[in-house]
Symmetry: C2
Subunit: 197 residues, 2 copies
């Protein structure tokens, strides 16, 4: 029922995660009827971002600069390196307020069936960096999923002979959580890793 260009716009909006046919239609009509300047600005920024945003030479996070602002920040503690799966995880750790070191972004986890091995995650680059000797503690903050655990395990094994201090973030009952609402797998972990107080 819509014109070819309007149909193309609705189809194109469906590349966005969580946007189905109804939302895509609502978004297209909203922009055309109410906010054409906003829509044009989004189009322009999308085109620039898709070509200009690359990866930080140091930590592999997404940035259009050669080295990201966190890696370039001389106030950060260069002896700690926190390994995470995605740029969003960097934000999550920063927002926790409890970390002043640097990051290394794998951009995924080991997934041999999808052809994602150590090379795709930049693990050789990570080893080269650890070899430079600046980092003294490696904090593995991959997700608490099967793939995240396997990836953490692989990295732990890869630097077994480096003499580096390697740690894994703690898993257990979330703060504010009630025992009743926690799955048994998490609770078993919380019990087995209990700490003396």
């Amino acid at each position: 029922m819509f014109s070819p260009l309007l149909n193309e716009l609705i189809q194109s909006l469906r590349v966005l995660p969580g946007v189905g046919p109804r939302s895509a239609q609502r978004m297209a009509l909203f922009l055309l009827e109410r906010n054409r300047p906003g829509g044009a600005r989004l189009g322009d920024v999308l085109l620039r971002a898709m070509t200009e945003v690359g990866h930080c030479q140091e930590c592999r996070t997404l940035t259009e600069e050669p080295v990201c602002r966190l890696c370039a920040n001389t106030a950060r503690d260069r002896s700690q390196l926190c390994v995470v799966e995605s740029p969003a995880d960097v934000l999550a750790v920063e927002q926790s307020g409890g970390y002043r070191g640097l990051y290394f972004v794998l951009a995924g986890h080991l997934s041999p069936l999808d052809g994602i091995g150590p090379r795709e995650l930049g693990i050789p680059d990570l080893m080269t960096r650890l070899g430079r000797g600046e980092v003294r503690e490696l904090i593995l903050a991959t997700n608490a999923t099967v793939e995240g655990e396997a990836t953490a395990h692989y990295i732990r094994e890869s630097c077994r002979d480096s003499g580096l201090q390697v740690s894994r973030i703690a898993h257990g009952v979330p703060m504010g959580g009630e025992l009743d609402g926690v799955d048994s797998h998490t609770l078993a972990r919380a019990l087995s890793q209990r700490q003396q107080i």
Copy 2:
């Protein structure tokens, strides 16, 4: 925490209806990490659509062509004209499968406080078109809201002396709906507009 261009992308995505800060961040990272060609295509289509899509000279719906495909379709019944509030409503009526006439899209409803009067809704154009004599029945299909009802009432009054057949779509209990789940305002309307069978 993100680079300036990535922050700009996240901010720009928030012009989309229903997209808050978390979804905008998820969308930006998803496009950059998984679907740059799709993101670039969306950027290109957005820029073209925001400048090229205008309004049909006949029915005022959104289209990049001078006259939309529905208005240009000679198989449609030119004696019936259905007045709706938005291009999405044209789609809704078409999908009902029960209408073969043409449309007139107001692109809104009367809303004096927002400066939307008859002129902004193209009602003078509608009257000119009705004056051409091709249309014999005018079907008012504005929303069943206070504003939609007021708009339908205004148009009904405006063509009081035209000798035109004017109708309003029926309001009542939705098909498949149970009386128990229908609000009392709708049920009162369904009762007062009961039809002999």
